[in-house]
Subunit: 278 residues, 2 copies
């Protein structure tokens, strides 16, 4: 497992990570949705957007407005007249669809799709794809209102379906892209030898200060138990041992720091003084 | 591993699955965003929404309008005056945050958060939580513009951070909820003994019709190779065996159906006739 550190800032994909897929939107209706798609792509490191006949024309001011800091993705989007032109240079095409299309094509979830996308992007392309260029992957997303035709779905190598509640299955376009891109980013980190939750420092790298020794803890336990014994807490006496064990188990988890134990002892001392004042 | 079937429709959480978490939105600004949050919750089977001081008042027509078929979640949302009131009956509180809060609290990803949420929801609650009621889990999401205060974050048991590209980290509110709810649904299926991509039939359950026998395949291979031999394809002769092996490997993957092999033979027959006509 690789580690984040000075050479590899936390959450940043390393050099040599799989090349991000292309997003193909088929006849997207609202410019606002196109902008939200671009924003979702940018969140997870995707950048190439292709549009097949956007309904309201192109360029679109509302797409630029909703793209947030991924406006460049909108501005560099490519226009196509048909799905087959938009996918011509791709060698793995993943088609998102909620409907059954009655065709014999593998149906996979977004995590499996992402794993395949990352594996495929490491292969070299056929000569027809540009002679030695890396193989390219694309995800196709259908129209907001009714998705894709059977013909358009047949352009894909696999159908990607999202695990929504069947009774409330309506995901908007940008949210479909978001989930696919999210799973891709996790898969890209895994493919690069990193943990699958890549924004997190391994726990042992978080500097919380020196951990408490067992002696620190024992000092605290004896302090606590002494105070409790003085108040008749351990009653009846034959239950004392079990009560002590249960109490110590609360703190004996191996993750208290020395400073935290000092703080706890300060708490005990403080509580004890309050008692004396009563 | 449990199976979907007549008793358990595909993609539907089984009886006894972990109880879905509560969503707490702290001072959400736009009604539209609240509606989009409800829609994202509904997509993954969440239903309880709590609002801490929504900026533009409540109820909100724009929230209802954007909630799509999750309007009931908006209508049943509960209002609170402060975060600590909104989380008072919860025993595991997961706080989403992109910022560093300089506090010693575990930082986890959405998948780990979901796994903990499902595990926790199976425990029984302390008497103070309602005497034997199941323990309840909540996710807190901050304001659109600037998230949560340190005090609000300190109400949580862990901080959840999303694996976005650090250079384009801005996720909108509904998208944060979407990713958390998506991971929760996957975790809930896993906790119930199902596969982690729960909308998919296991491959062997997809009825594609009878699989091809080896005799079907051999018939096809001999048909193909006969046609190729007649055209002088296997040249030079000493390479014939290897060429045949490589060709057969293309089809010999164990997943062709008898019907598909019949289709392929139809293709061969058709191609052969075209040749005769030339």
């Amino acid at each position: 497992m690789s580690r984040f550190g000075e050479d590899q800032p936390l959450g940043v994909l390393p050099q040599g990570a799989p090349r991000p897929p292309v997003v193909v939107l088929v006849e997207p209706q609202l410019g606002e949705n196109i902008g939200m798609v671009a924003r979702a792509m940018g969140n997870f490191g995707w950048s190439q957007l292709r549009l097949v006949k956007p309904r309201d024309g192109w360029p679109s001011a509302s797409a630029s407005a909703t793209a947030s800091n991924s406006r460049a993705i909108v501005e560099e989007a490519q226009l196509f007249g048909a799905v087959d032109e938009a996918v011509a240079d791709l060698s793995l095409v993943l088609v998102t669809s909620a409907r059954k299309h009655d065709m014999v094509k593998p149906v996979i979830g977004p995590a499996e799709a992402a794993t395949r996308a990352c594996a495929h992007a490491g292969r070299s392309g056929a000569p027809a794809e540009g002679g030695g260029q890396p193989a390219r992957v694309g995800y196709i997303f259908g129209r907001e209102a009714w998705g894709l035709t059977n013909d358009e779905v047949s352009a894909g190598n696999a159908i990607v379906t999202l695990p929504v509640d069947p009774e409330r299955a309506s995901l908007n376009l940008a949210q479909c892209v978001l989930l696919c891109a999210y799973e891709w980013r996790l898969a890209a980190f895994r493919a690069s030898g990193f943990d699958s939750e890549p924004t997190l420092l391994p726990v042992e790298q978080v500097d919380r200060g020196p951990v408490a020794t067992q002696a620190d803890l024992t000092g605290f336990y004896e302090h606590l138990e002494g105070l409790l014994a003085a108040r008749g807490f351990f009653h009846p006496p034959e239950k004392r041992d079990r009560m002590v064990r249960n109490l110590r188990a609360i703190f004996q988890r191996g993750d208290l720091t020395a400073q935290e134990v000092r703080t706890l002892r300060g708490v005990l001392a403080s509580l004890d003084r309050a008692h004396e004042r009563r």
